[in-house]
Amino acid sequence: MTLLDKDAVLKAHAQNRAVASLQTSLPDAILDAVFDRSEFTLTIAKDQIRAAASVVQQAGYNFLEDVTCVDWYPSEPRFHVVYHILSHNLKERIRLVAPVASIDSSIDSITPIWPSANFYEREVWDLFGVRFHGHPNLRRIMMPDEWPGHPLRKDYPVEGYR
């Protein structure tokens, strides 16, 4: 069943452990909630992402699967940094989305919470140009160090600059 309205989703999934903990400890962090194709998406305010990740981890979602980004150029906020977090005990997955505007394309790193985010955040920096505050080693990972631009941005041509 697809639910797109924030209040309806939060009401229908109030017993979800991530939602319950987030609503108790960070009530104003949840900007939006969507339940679509049996997947649960929470939009989190950018400045609270590290706190939200920590709360979700405490709630039993112990395994960070993936960090990536989607470029919604030319609309704003341009970047959506996407986190997929899995719970081994509950056998369910939650998706956190943090919108990042192009004017200050940076967000807090969650590497202090999940060390596995290290490579993923480097990849997002390399390919999208979103910076992560507090990352221990934010260098390019795929492209050469002196590469101009960030290839996965939508305004970067598929065949590159020639």
Binding site: F63, E65, D66, V70, S116, I141, M142
Partner: protein, 410 residues
Amino acid sequence: MGDLPQFVATSSLLEPRPEEGPKDKTMVLNMGPQHPSTHGVLRLVIEIDGETVLKVVPDIGYLHTGIEKTCEAKFYQQVVPMTDRIDYLSPMTNNLCYCLAVEKLLEIEIPERAQWIRVLLNELTRLNSHLVWLGTHAMDIGALTVFLYCFREREEILRIFEAVSGQRMMTSYFRVGGLALEPPLDLFAWIQKFIKIMPEKIDEYQNLLTGNPIWMGRLKGVGHLSAEDAIALGVTGPPLRASGVDWDLRRDMPYSSYEKFQFKVPVSNDCDVWARYIIRIEEMRESVKICQQALDGMPEGDIKANAPKVVLPDREKMKTQMESLIYHFKIVTEGFTVPAGQVYQAVESPRGEMGYYVVSDGTAKPYRVHMRNPSFATLQALQTMCEGRLIADVVAVIGSIDIVLGEIDR
């Protein structure tokens, strides 16, 4: 805006950094990207003190081909052949994961026969991948014979793949909405013949390796990775199960009718390279059992979903029915549109959790395709596994995490 992080050039990895104090006694060793035991183009910068490893820094990206970017310029059905090239040792698993993700976006039902054939071929892929792993891992350690034994059976699997899809390695056999075509008539009898002899072949590999004192000495107690570290570092698949975490997506979050199959998930608490070897051998035995169940219970019926706007029509129908011809023309020239939305689909690949994150904006081309690949995350655990151990153990550890550089660099 807080402090921006300091950027460190790759070349500076080779020099000791001043904040870490004088390092007169240590040496920096460059391993790869053309080193034979790095399974491709992995480059490691290793800091050693005598024979002891202090630090291992992987430097990746030598095989980066920008597949994610290329996907955004293709129709949904054109992405399938690109997924093979990511993890070239398990092409069917990549095909399956991508197709499942797009099918989830489209919300279409796949016929049972197609799902079962997908399971059957996926388990053969797992056998194929584990055979390559066992052969190359043993060769790294110095047991050259096993490689030839493993490739003998792998050749048979590749012949089966060729009969199914026309290609030995880059199969691209699964389609969004089902399979490309009905498998050949004698295929199931052929697979039956193969999996009948497979258990005794696995015994043969174990006879060559398990009791071998050199093999035991090189593997036991090497590359220790605790369950907490494994979860924190994003390790999945056999290395995670070898660290005592009982987690397998095929059983715990079933897809493509895996819930109808009975199989054991091998788990070990030894946390070392040896445990990963045993887990993979046991997984091969379980894969044979799943193949047997798939052959025994193979349902009859269609191999394509009833979705004419997505699935290409049969050749015969195209020649006799006007609508089929129109749909064929439209799908090939314009692609099919997918309703807007985003999905994340994860499957258990031979190396761990493989996930495809597909975002659609309602057009015929994916807005974003991201692959979560198991080797990429597992590579981060290399430092934890090698720290304080001997330099010779690095090779054993790399072999035990079974990396494929194609999926790390994409």
